[in-house]
Every structure is written in structure tokens, then in C-alpha cells.
């Protein structure tokens, strides 16, 4: 029993942190929202160079065949730094799904190399394809038939860095076994949870920094208990979401990933609400970077299954529904 990262996993996390903290990810996210993909695609490439896009790709397609623990590390970093792009869709959903059909190794090798981005619409939980204007789009029909997809109309997400599109099914690729679809969906849920955790951690860190320097009534607002206790509750919520995510990375079954997602989304949502509140009016502006995370958290809480859906799944798995 050693419930902490191995030295290699800790190194991987540090590598991603140092790469992304020096990469001006906010500018890339804002450009992405405006339709300029170049800085975001450069980030995608840089992350691919560290192995992120190859994590769950099998060795036969030049992948790393890494574990969900590494996936979670990468997704937390992506969430913390607001990196734009269809990361959950490519890394956590379509990579395992295409690996299971066996005839898509060429595509997977391109994914591993960072040469292609993938996205998917897989209703009812993922009705629209994220970033389909820059990624190869797929459509999963009836939870089992995978098609390529043609891109339709653009939709505006509450998070403008998430560019959503309707897609229509095109050529059928394969009939995917039900358990493979479920396994891929569960990994996507886990990845979404980790992304939320990273975003929540970032909002907390930025909020703590802000309340330490903002003064009212002659002292830092962070010295008032009304502020302190709210931020302490965020710290506590994030601290108890993390072990659920790590535990689910070790055993990524339905009940584990949904439990992790419930806690991570609640914690990140609390971070966003408290973060906005302690910033006051400046936090409510589009110009201030906090807005990127606040809006992303709200969008991610509805992606890959609502909280109600995940609570119902847990109840069912417990045999109580």
C-alpha cells in the first residue's frame, strides 16, 4: 500500500507543470476562443512531446500504454492551466475506443505523435462535438456504432474556449463492444474529474493570492474570517476529491469514476463560486483571467454526464436504486 505518486509519476507532473506554467496558456486559450488555433495547437504539440497524447495508446500503435494514473496527472495539469482543446475526447475517450476496434492503429499512431486531434459526439451525455473545426470528428450512435462525422453548425458554449459543433454521422467505422464503450466513457469521466480538480486548484490558488493583497477597511481582506472560512472550505473539498480521483485511476470502474467526478465537480464548482465572490467585481469581468476558469468549470460540470446522472449511477451500483 503506497497511495502516492511514484517518483516517475511525480516527475511527469513536475515536467508538465513547468512546461505549462511557462507557456502562456491563457493567451492560447483566448486566441482559441477567437478562432485562432495556432498557439493552442503549438501547446498540443509541446504536450505531445512529453508523451501526453500517447499515454493510453497501445504499444502496437507507438503509444506508451500508460495507466489512468498518468492520464489523471496530465488532465489535472491541463485543467490547472486552462489548456484549450479536445483533451478528454482524444486522450480518454476515443483513444481507448479506437484501440478496442483494432482497425484504427494508423489514426492512433498519429494521435500518439500529436499530429491529429480527435473529437466526438456521443449522446445523450455528449451531444455536441468539442472543437470539431480543428479535430477529426466522430459520432457514436446508439452507444455502439462508431462513425466518422461531418461538421455542422457551430454552437456557443458558456466557456468560449470550448467551441462546440453539431455533427452528422458519415461513414461507419465499427460496431464497438458495449463494455469497451462503457470503459472509454468511464475513462472520459475520470479525465473530466481530473480536469475539474486542476481548474479548482487554480481558482483557489489565484483567489488566495488575491485576498492576500487586496485591502479594505485598512487590512487584507484575507484576514477576515468571512473570507478565510470560505476558502478553507474550498481547500477541504479539493483535498477530499483528490484521493477519489487517484483511487479511481487505480480501479477505473463505474462507481469509482462517478464518485470521483461527483466530488471533483462539487469541489471545483465551490472553488469557482467562492473564487468569484472573494474577487468581487473584478472577478466578474471578461478581461480578468479568472473568468476563463469560472466558465470552464461550469461547462465541465455538465460535460460527460451531469451530477444527477453520476449520483444515479452510484446509487445503482450500490444496489439501492
Amino acid at each position: 500500500m503506497r497511495f502516492t505518486h511514484t517518483a516517475e509519476q511525480a516527475d511527469f507532473a513536475r515536467t508538465l507543470e513547468s512546461l505549462l506554467s511557462g507557456a502562456d496558456t491563457v493567451t492560447a486559450a483566448r486566441a482559441w476562443a477567437a478562432g485562432d488555433h495556432a498557439p493552442g495547437l503549438a501547446l498540443w504539440s509541446k504536450l505531445a512531446d512529453t508523451g501526453v497524447t500517447a499515454l493510453l495508446v497501445p504499444e502496437r500503435a507507438d503509444g506508451l500504454a500508460a495507466s489512468p494514473v498518468e492520464l489523471v496527472i496530465a488532465m489535472e495539469a491541463i485543467g490547472r492551466h486552462c489548456v484549450p482543446g479536445p483533451w478528454v475526447e482524444t486522450l480518454a475517450f476515443l483513444t481507448p475506443l479506437l484501440s478496442s476496434v483494432g482497425s484504427a492503429d494508423d489514426t492512433l499512431a498519429e494521435v500518439a505523435a500529436g499530429e491529429v486531434l480527435l473529437t466526438v459526439a456521443a449522446g445523450p451525455h455528449v451531444p455536441h462535438a468539442l472543437d470539431a473545426d480543428v479535430a477529426s470528428a466522430f459520432r457514436l450512435l446508439d452507444s455502439r456504432t462508431l462513425h466518422t462525422a461531418r461538421v455542422g453548425a457551430a454552437l456557443s458554449s458558456i466557456d468560449t474556449t470550448r467551441r462546440l459543433f453539431t455533427v452528422v454521422p458519415d461513414r461507419e467505422i465499427a460496431e464497438v463492444p458495449t463494455d469497451a464503450v462503457l470503459a472509454a466513457f468511464d475513462l472520459a469521466v475520470l479525465a473530466n474529474a481530473a480536469q475539474l480538480l486542476g481548474a479548482g486548484e487554480r481558482v483557489l490558488a489565484d483567489s488566495v493570492a488575491y485576498v492576500k493583497q487586496r485591502k479594505q477597511f485598512g487590512r487584507e481582506i484575507g484576514s477576515y474570517q468571512a473570507i478565510k472560512h470560505q476558502l478553507a472550505d474550498v481547500r477541504i473539498a479539493l483535498d477530499f476529491a483528490r484521493p477519489l480521483i487517484d483511487g479511481a485511476a487505480l480501479t477505473p470502474g463505474t462507481i469509482d469514476v462517478s464518485a470521483a467526478r461527483i466530488a471533483a465537480a462539487d469541489a471545483a464548482h465551490l472553488a469557482a463560486r467562492v473564487g468569484l465572490q472573494v474577487h468581487g467585481a473584478i472577478g466578474y469581468t471578461a478581461e480578468f483571467d479568472l473568468s476563463l476558469w469560472i466558465l470552464k468549470i461550469r461547462a465541465l460540470v455538465a460535460a460527460w454526464g451531469t451530477q444527477s446522472f453520476h449520483r444515479a449511477r452510484v446509487l445503482q451500483a450500490l444496489g439501492a436504486a
Binding site: 503506497r2 474570517q225 478553507a232 483535498d239 487505480l250
Partner: protein
């Protein structure tokens, strides 16, 4: 990263489970805060001790099994899973014993620990005073140097188990010129000593779970001072960490309660959607607490310490405990007010956010020591 148990840890779990299933009383013992229940709980402690299950992490010569931290958590999981009785000795074995191991003399260890392990001597804590609650360092009960020892005067209150316990432990101001954290000394004292008056206080549930303790010139020999005179705050703070952190609220307790809640939900006709969500949230949080504890165990096993994590922990489990029991009462509907294990658990859960440092104090600690926010100006 893994959560795998070794063969010997699995064997330890199997042994604990087997013993508990054979020995846990089939009907619940009477409340440990009644005279009858106190004796029954002492007898249970003796039974645990005779089979070396009362203090599994202690050295063998003192009645333990030298269990690792992992094994201790496993034992606690099995203990609550089996629905075993509450530990009447918990103030002693979880709060005081770690201090005696760290700061006690060999003579004190030999004199106090074996009878603590067997339940023969039950210990009560005596921290709070009428004017020193959250602000514990403002305590005023005094210790005056006399030949061969000290004389204690003053009043303690909210002393858990003091109504029926044999010994107490607490802090007294031994240097009247010193302020706050300085000049305090950690004393051990028999509750039947001359000059001590114990006045039981009925708690919300009507039982005398705590008491006021009055000290009128009570003589305590030097041999019953724990640690160095004047060093009491530092000595005591290691118990506060234990109470908030790992030891007092093991994850087994919440996982077992969450499982019972799920069963209650499944047996409830037409429960509401809100109740369903609350059941799931309680179960998820109990699981989070369990995994969080494995993370803490990993850190401690690698030589780290609890640090301020105990404050994060304490807010979480105490709020979880209240929410879990509130949910159960909601599910019971109009039957909720009728006394049951759920109402007992509910009333007990209400004390969690208050004792061992209120949750407001814990949030201050989280904000100031973990997040690094500025301290509030204090007089």
C-alpha cells in the same frame, strides 16, 4: 501508486474479522455514560485486551501487537464493520497514550499504560474551562509548587468521561507570571483525589457524557507531571493533533455508517430524489475519507507528520457525520423522532463540529497555516 495489501496485512484483517465476529456482543451494550454501561464497556475492553486487540499498535510488552499504521487502519475498519461497542477507553488510548509514549518516563509508562490497555483505569480529558474554550491558552486553573509536587486549584469543564472515569489529564498554569502558551504544565490526577469534586453534566441525549471538575488545593506528586514543568502546551498539542486527525475518527466508522445508510435507503418505500442524492453524497464522502486516510498513512509511513492536515480532516469528518445522520433521519420520516441507533448516532454527531477545537477554529488553522492567509488581529 497502489492500494494493495500485503499477504500479512490480509492475514491480519482476516484474523481481526474472525475474532470480532465471534466476540462482538450481539445486543448493544448500555450507554457507557451510565453506571451499568460503563462497567459493561470496561469488561469489553478487558476482553479485547486479553486477545491483544485493545491497543494493536502498542509494543507487545504493554499489551499490543506492534501493528503498523496500515494494520491499525485495517483493525479500525473491521472494528466498525463488526458493529463493535464504542471505546470507553478512547480518551486514554488515543489521546493520552501517544503523549505518554513520547513524553512519559519509563516509570509512568509502566504505571499507566497496562491498566489503560485493559480498561481497568479509564481516563478523562480535562482541557476546557468556563472561560477557556476555543481560546484554550487563556486557561486559569493553577498549579502551585509545594514540597514534592504541586497543588492544583480551579475548574475544568466539558470533561468527557469524567463522570465515571478514574483518572484525568489536563493543563494547569504553573507559572502565574507567564501568559497564554507559556508557563503551563501537563498533569495526571486520580479523580478521587482529596479536593477534587466531579459534577456530571447531562448531554443532549440526557446521559452524563461529560462533567465539571473542581480542584480545591489538590496535591499531585512530581511523578504525575507529564513532560517538563512549563512545557505543557507543547506536550498537549501533540494530543490535539491526534484527536483531530487519524486516531479518534477512523475511516471505518464512516464507511460502516454509510453502508448502513445505503441499506436504510434501499428499505425505505418511495424515498425522495433529494434523499437519494444525500445518500450518495454521504457514501462518496465516506469513501473519500477512507482514501484520504490511506494517503495520510502513506505519508506518515514515509516519515512525514500529520501537520495541519488534522484540521482539514476534522472539519470534513464531523460535517460528514452530521449530514449522514440527518439523511438517515429524513429517510425515517415521521418515525425519525423515535429513539433508535440513528437518533443516538445523530445526537453524538452533533458534538463533532464542536469538540476537539470547533470547526471555526479548524477553518482558521486551514486558512492561516495551509493557505497562508494573514492572521486576524487579536488582543
Amino acid at each position: 501508486m497502489d492500494l494493495d495489501l500485503t499477504d500479512s496485512e490480509l492475514a491480519f484483517r482476516a484474523e481481526a474479522r474472525e475474532w470480532l465476529s465471534a466476540h462482538v456482543p450481539r445486543t448493544p451494550l448500555p450507554s457507557m455514560d451510565t453506571a451499568e454501561g460503563f462497567v459493561a464497556h470496561q469488561a469489553w475492553e478487558k476482553q479485547l485486551c486479553d486477545a491483544r486487540w485493545s491497543v494493536v499498535s502498542w509494543p507487545r510488552e504493554l499489551g499490543g501487537r506492534e501493528a503498523s499504521l496500515v494494520e491499525w487502519v485495517i483493525f479500525e475498519e473491521e472494528y466498525y464493520r463488526a458493529g463493535a461497542p464504542g471505546r470507553v477507553s478512547q480518551n486514554g488510548i488515543f489521546l493520552l497514550a501517544p503523549i505518554i509514549f513520547d513524553h512519559g518516563t519509563p516509570e509512568q509508562q509502566q504505571r499507566f499504560l497496562p491498566t489503560m490497555a485493559s480498561g481497568e483505569k479509564v481516563w478523562a480529558q480535562a482541557w476546557s474551562e468556563p472561560e477557556a474554550g476555543s481560546d484554550l491558552a487563556s486557561l486559569r486553573s493553577s498549579a502551585t509548587r509545594v514540597d514534592g509536587g504541586w497543588r492544583l486549584s480551579g475548574q475544568k469543564t466539558w470533561s468527557s468521561r469524567a463522570a465515571l472515569a478514574h483518572w484525568g489529564f489536563g493543563l494547569f498554569r504553573s507559572d502565574p507570571s507567564a501568559e497564554r502558551h507559556a508557563g503551563l504544565t501537563y498533569f495526571l490526577f486520580p479523580l478521587d483525589a482529596d479536593g477534587i469534586t466531579v459534577r456530571p453534566i447531562a448531554q443532549l441525549d440526557g446521559e452524563a457524557g461529560f462533567a465539571e471538575v473542581f480542584f480545591d488545593d489538590v496535591f499531585v506528586p512530581d511523578s504525575d507531571v507529564l513532560g517538563a514543568p512549563g512545557d505543557g502546551w507543547r506536550v498537549a498539542m501533540s494530543t490535539a493533533g491526534n484527536e483531530r486527525g487519524l486516531s479518534l475518527r477512523s475511516p471505518g466508522r464512516f464507511c460502516a455508517a454509510a453502508d448502513r445508510l445505503v441499506s436504510l435507503y434501499a428499505a425505505t418505500p418511495a424515498p425522495s430524489g433529494a434523499a437519494a442524492d444525500a445518500v450518495v453524497d454521504a457514501w462518496v464522502k465516506a469513501r473519500a475519507y477512507r482514501l484520504y486516510t490511506w494517503g495520510t498513512v502513506t505519508r506518515l509511513a514515509a516519515g512525514g507528520d500529520m501537520g495541519t492536515a488534522g484540521s482539514v480532516n476534522k472539519v470534513f469528518w464531523s460535517e460528514l457525520d452530521v449530514a449522514l445522520h440527518e439523511t438517515a433521519l429524513d429517510l425515517l420520516g415521521p418515525e425519525a423522532e423515535v429513539e433508535s441507533a440513528w437518533t443516538d448516532g445523530y445526537l453524538f454527531s452533533l458534538s463533532g463540529p464542536i469538540y476537539a477545537g470547533t470547526n471555526e477554529i479548524q477553518r482558521n488553522i486551514v486558512a492561516e497555516r495551509i493557505l497562508g492567509l494573514p492572521k486576524e488581529p487579536r488582543r
